[in-house]
């Protein structure tokens, strides 16, 4: 590999040039996941919508797509939760308060709030799917009067893998959200529901007039969608937040493409009705 020396001072803006964000807080929340609160180092604050994504990078390691884990209603800072799965996430998760990472965004399309306001809302979040949906959960809680009933289902593999423990404790007590949780496998500390996330539908009456947001591991979607269809919820009232290999985040590199659709540019949040016909979506 040749030594690279860049001497250019180009007037052309570069969509791949990230901005620096300072880590205000960094907390290891599970064995593999770290929760960061960040602030843009220079220039304007991050201006985003719930459900949008960022390309997060560390120079020398690379970039990964991460959904915002906080609501834009919490001004000036934003949260990200990163699971250690590879080279980039492993390096980012070694960072601590006061250090920086680099971000490009916001990118993609988030939740269509105009379609959710004034409605009964159900959010179904599985595992790390709670992170991007937390941007919407916080938004609804901060603007509670703009929404009707608010149900939140959260499933984790085990109690140890639950994220946002402070939030969970608050939601369990809150009158603003009807919070229901389950774990696939209980341990001696767990006194709640045991079973996959769809078992929550047996104990909670979800009527056909809900707008539903789903985010979780790929396997979860078809089972949850079957439950919703069984309750008469039309497919244009279901929103899915999809995970793909969004390498560039700007609808070019092709890795996240599902049939005609680029997840990073056309999503990652989609109305289910708009993509249910795409055979590679689920």
């Amino acid at each position: 590999m040749s030594e690279h020396v860049c001497t250019c001072a180009s007037p052309h803006s570069n969509v791949f040039l990230p901005r620096e964000a300072e880590i205000l807080r960094a907390k290891q929340v599970t064995a593999g996941e770290k929760h960061f609160t960040l602030k843009m180092k220079d220039g304007p604050p991050m201006d985003y919508a719930p459900g949008q994504i960022l390309e997060v990078s560390l120079y020398g390691y690379g970039e990964i797509p991460i959904g915002f884990a906080s609501s834009p209603t919490r001004k000036n800072t934003f949260d990200l939760v990163i699971r250690t799965v590879g080279r980039v996430s492993g390096a980012v998760n070694k960072l601590a308060q006061g250090q920086s990472l680099f971000v490009r965004g916001p990118l993609g399309k988030g939740f269509d709030l105009s379609q959710l306001r004034g409605q009964n809302i159900l959010i179904v979040a599985g595992g790390i799917g709670l992170c991007p949906t937390r941007s919407l959960i916080q938004y609804i809680l901060d603007r509670r009067s703009e929404f009707n009933r608010f149900l939140l289902f959260f499933g984790a593999k085990s109690p140890k893998e639950q994220l946002f423990l402070d939030d969970l404790a608050e939601w369990r007590k809150s009158k603003d959200v009807e919070f229901h949780e389950t774990v696939d496998r209980a341990d001696e500390t767990w006194k709640g529901n045991v079973g996959v996330i769809t078992t929550l539908f047996k104990t909670v009456n979800v009527t056909g007039d809900f707008r539903v947001v789903i985010c979780g591991p790929p396997i979860m979607y078809k089972f949850v969608i079957a439950e919703l269809k069984g309750r008469g919820i039309p497919t244009d009232h279901i929103y899915v937040d999809l995970e793909r290999r969004m390498k560039c985040g700007i609808g070019k590199c092709g890795h996240c493409q599902i049939n005609d659709v680029y997840v990073c540019a056309d999503g990652p949040v989609f109305r289910y009705k708009d993509i249910e016909h795409l055979q590679e979506a689920f």
């Binding site: 250019c8 120079y59 690379g62 970039e63 070019k252 493409q257």
Partner: protein
């Protein structure tokens, strides 16, 4: 504004190219053993406008196999966009159509100046096809799309070259050669030569772009056909790499030897390769959204015949035949795949 067409006799063409090389950075088709490539021209004698098709398409001049995006060091990152003026000489019309498509695709959503800036700094001179590649089918694919993004076009006539000027950038090249205004006969001759060529490809598509798009979409769920067609696919991605309209890429960081500075680059990638749509889920688990060979094989064909048609005003295939010629098990030929789908 219609710019005047010009003519240069064969005997003076080499001097024109020599002058051009003296004044600008010029890239054109040259021989590489018994094949052809686009390469920087140092000697006008090396220019081979009689090439049939190049191994790699001219997109590599604007979108290099590896392209630096951002250079970094301890102080942060800096953009690597640094366009340099150049002339891309001798591009066949099908490759111009492919460049037109990439202009649209790099412009949409978030405009990507890593392509657009170099594109703007490049003068493109097309040239008429003098030899037909054995697997080409440019005569019958996407006929509704005409080549747009070029500055001048050369057509070989018996006694010289007709140089049709399309833009002021193209007109600026005339100063380097002994051009004279072309006669109406020469212009007519050039047009006939180009039109007659369209019938010269051995391979032909019998259907319109809309008929093909409709048929391939309808065949999407017929897994048996795709499995049969993709049975001997190596997932090597050669069909992607040689394609003038493929623009998928990977982004990687590389450190310099000091382990502090380095560069973020993009490199051509291919949707046929096994891990193209694979994601990690943690704890060693992963999900591959196009895990089977036939799914990746189908994805390429759908991209070429249907997915991008609305954006591009035609199919994302220009009929160069590079994929057909490059595929080792010879299963990538769009004409054969489309014919299999439409004729059974």
């Amino acid at each position: 504004m219609t710019l005047p067409s010009q003519f240069i006799p064969h005997g003076r063409f080499e001097a024109f190219v020599r002058n051009l090389i003296g004044a600008r950075s010029v890239i054109g088709p040259v021989a590489k053993k018994h094949k052809f490539i686009f390469a920087p021209l140092k000697d006008p004698k090396a220019l081979r406008l009689d090439y049939d098709v190049t191994l790699l398409p001219p997109k590599k001049v604007l979108f290099p196999v590896r392209q630096d995006l951002v250079a970094f060091d301890a102080a942060g990152g800096r953009s690597c966009i640094a366009p340099t003026p150049q002339v891309l000489l001798g591009v066949h019309f099908y490759d111009i159509k492919a460049l037109d498509q990439l202009d649209v695709l790099f412009q949409e959503n978030h405009a990507d100046n890593n392509w657009l800036a170099q594109r703007e700094a490049t003068t493109i001179v097309g040239s008429s096809i003098q030899a037909v590649a054995p697997r080409a089918f440019w005569g019958t694919v996407g006929k509704e799309a005409k080549p747009r993004g070029h500055d001048a076009f050369l057509t070989k006539l018996p006694d010289g070259y007709l140089m049709e000027i399309r833009t002021p950038k193209g007109e600026a090249l005339l100063a380097h050669g002994d051009f004279t205004p072309a006669t109406a006969t020469q212009i007519q001759q050039g047009q006939s030569i180009r039109e007659d060529l369209l019938d010269q490809c051995a391979e032909k598509l019998k259907w319109s772009s809309d008929e093909i798009a409709h048929a391939t979409r309808a065949a999407f769920g017929m897994n048996a056909i795709w499995e049969e067609l993709a049975k001997t696919c190596f997932s090597c991605g050669t069909c992607n790499i040689v394609c003038p309209t493929c623009y998928c890429f990977d982004v990687q960081d590389n450190w310099n030897l000091d382990q502090v500075s380095g560069v973020r680059t993009r490199a051509w990638d291919g949707c046929l390769t096994e891990d193209f749509a694979k994601i990690s889920l943690g704890a060693g688990a992963c999900e591959n959204f196009r895990e089977e060979r036939f799914q990746r094989y189908r994805h390429r064909l759908m991209r070429k015949t249907a997915y991008l048609n609305k954006k591009l005003g035609g199919p994302a295939c220009v009929g160069c035949g590079r994929c057909s010629a490059g595929c080792v098990p010879d299963i990538a030929d769009p004409v054969r795949i489309i014919s299999r789908i439409l004729e059974g």
